[in-house]
Symmetry: C4
Subunit: 241 residues, 4 copies
């Protein structure tokens, strides 16, 4: 009906505000644009801050009428929304700015929070939401992957430090420096800012590279299985239900 | 029969024209070859432009007789072909050049369009077509991955800009510059043209690297599941049908 | 009961000791911290060495009461624990240091062993343990991947050496040097310290890059299948059992 | 029995000869080792050439008694072996050297062929053989991936050439040069020898990076599905057979 069309229009407007906002934050960080269009950027920020605040208050107020919180009492529904991932993102998107409005603070810290506004957009894309859901559901296993990779990284770093600390004291002279090399290598990034130059170092790097390839297979395997499992269940229900 | 053999010969000739064309575009961009063999390259382009135009007109004309458009009326079949992926590639492969023929324009822009001709080759490979089909079918989920990765990139860029804008103002002085670093890192490319040098920057980069590895698992999981699902369905039909 | 709460407290304390230990090893390798806080680092190492030794002795002593070794005799249970992955990690975490205590030896070698203590943490995380289990169960297939990749690397190295030994004698003048390039490329690391500059070299690198992408799919496929298979079995049992 | 033990001993000896051979080829390419131990390397090559030749002749002769060729006639069995992957590797491992023995030729070309001997080792590892089997069975789909990636690479290269040919004429001045950048980027290698510096170039690179991540998911999906499918079939047979 009319409400539906209006709701869709509001959604589109909010998405536009989010995108305009991000582009403005990015461009504002360029000195020449900041100087020339500073007023425009300030206006965009002020207007969108008001919009996002109104949006947050309305969502909080309307929470009891929303589907997942439908059967809860009004207060419990609002607390649930406020503590949900979407609610927290909505809050982070506005809170620090009111704070900064009262207490003057560093611009760059605010920029990070303003960028978090991007994730407000997830609400409007079912595909994106279900991807984030899978990541959230498998968080334990994914954190397990991160911990295993970090463990491999510290051992690889100590080994590389042992092999090259004397020949590259400025780059691999301490274990934290070697840890940077290990993480960049295990993540298959390979910036090339720290590279082993001795035979022993290259052998350690080779082992680390192979371990990295195997480690990288873990999150992929976890997520592929999670997708397959979900589809399998759905098929199962469709077929036998 | 004879028609079948002739059709296969035409297919092979068209594939040869496509490959010769791409090689010619690539070599023509090298000044020394362009000077020496300019006439040959011009001839190749003119001949293949005529061939591809004739091919397009014939395909458009013969569309109603083709299998997927078999039961449609002649006009609807032609419109369908013209708007299909294959039809659009066929059109892009010829249209700009007739335009450029009339209005002189920049050579390098045309080169990009001429390279698109490569995708005409997909028609002749069932394996390639089915891979492109999977990509097309999962486009929503894949675009979701791209959007999530971009979102992570803008937050990582703002954080890195916060950490290193003062120490590397020429490389990370603005958020768009930091965004380039974030995308190169999340994609596990790691050119090494922008690398964090402070402890805070390296910690942010470490978190970004781990997020990149997890993010990279999403498209792989989507596509692996899509393949598995297709095979599962086929097996199901074979077994129970 | 009380025992349960106490056991959980001990677990948390041991995890804290492990983490403090790793951070101390990493920071101790930085000269300025080592000089200033040397006494603290020495104390941390001595205390945690005593703790880990006591832990090892107690685990060895209590092995017969533990679940997987429950029905075995006391001696067999202890030998089993001592030779298990967890038991070996526990031993490596303490043995070299008592040895180093008696015979003075190189600090950096010990650092590597001290970093191995990280893997003691796997005991406390079911997710991490099950990931390591999957890696262990698929070790044969994963070693097969490593061997195939090494084989491809030696052939690619010989080919690259053939193409570029004369133009880059300092970087690709010998096959072991070219092997370093091949491994860095097949692992999709791409440090950029060795890069082909001739046309022949770039063509060989292109083939190597494609082989690397295909090779990288093997461990991912193995691990994804192992995860899926385990879940499939569990579902099967749940559904039909 | 005795024959079994002897056969296992011969297998181990042949594996040792292969490994010694590869190490010798690698070390021989280092001038200082080549000068000092040239006689040893020559001896290793001569002895292993004789061994591999005898092995090839024996395998050819014994082919009719081997399991896969058991029911064929003697000549057909030998031809089958000679044309099998294993037979071709065995032949490549010896033929060029007898040829080089007669006609003096370039050392470095022979090194590549000598490295191919590595793949003789696949015969002795069931895990490695089954991995290579999967790659072989999925070769059509994998070649499809390579062709799609190449197609994306040529379009990306033309676009990057359009954007940066004027600002980096020495690195992106021709399409073949830009193609090198595109392949290194799509393969997520990122050597960093060619990096876009303009805004347009970085946007094109960003799109290319995302396409690369999606493209990389294809071979992984193919191989993961192939593994899963094989295991599924085996389970199916076990369960219903």
């Amino acid at each position: 009906g009319v409400g539906d069309g209006a709701s869709r229009l509001v959604d589109r407007l909010l998405m536009a505000v989010i995108v305009v906002n991000l582009v403005a934050v990015a461009l504002e960080s360029v000195p020449e644009y900041s100087e020339r269009y500073g007023v425009v950027f300030g206006l965009i920020e002020d207007v969108s801050l008001v919009i996002f605040t109104v949006e947050y208050v309305l969502r909080l107020w309307a929470a009891p009428e929303h589907l997942p919180y439908h059967r809860l009492g009004a207060t419990r529904a609002r607390v649930r929304y406020a503590l949900s991932a979407a609610g927290l993102v909505d809050l982070i998107a506005v809170l620090p700015f009111w704070f900064a409005f009262l207490v003057p603070s560093e611009l760059r810290v605010l920029q990070v929070f303003r960028m978090v506004r991007f994730f407000k957009i997830a609400r409007y894309s079912p595909a994106m939401r279900s991807l984030l859901d899978v990541l959230y559901r498998e968080r334990r296993a994914l954190i397990g992957c991160v911990v295993i990779t970090l463990g491999t990284a510290v051992v690889a770093a100590a080994a590389m430090h042992l092999a090259e600390a004397r020949v590259q004291p400025d780059k691999l002279g301490t274990i934290p420096q070697a840890l940077w090399w290990a993480i960049v290598t295990l993540g298959t990034i390979g910036y090339g800012d720290v590279v082993p130059i001795t035979v022993a170092g290259k052998i350690i790097a080779t082992v680390t590279i192979f371990l990295g390839l195997i480690m990288m297979a873990l999150p992929v395997g976890i997520i592929a299985t999670a997708f397959a499992d979900e589809i399998h269940r759905r098929n199962f229900i469709v077929t036998w239900g």
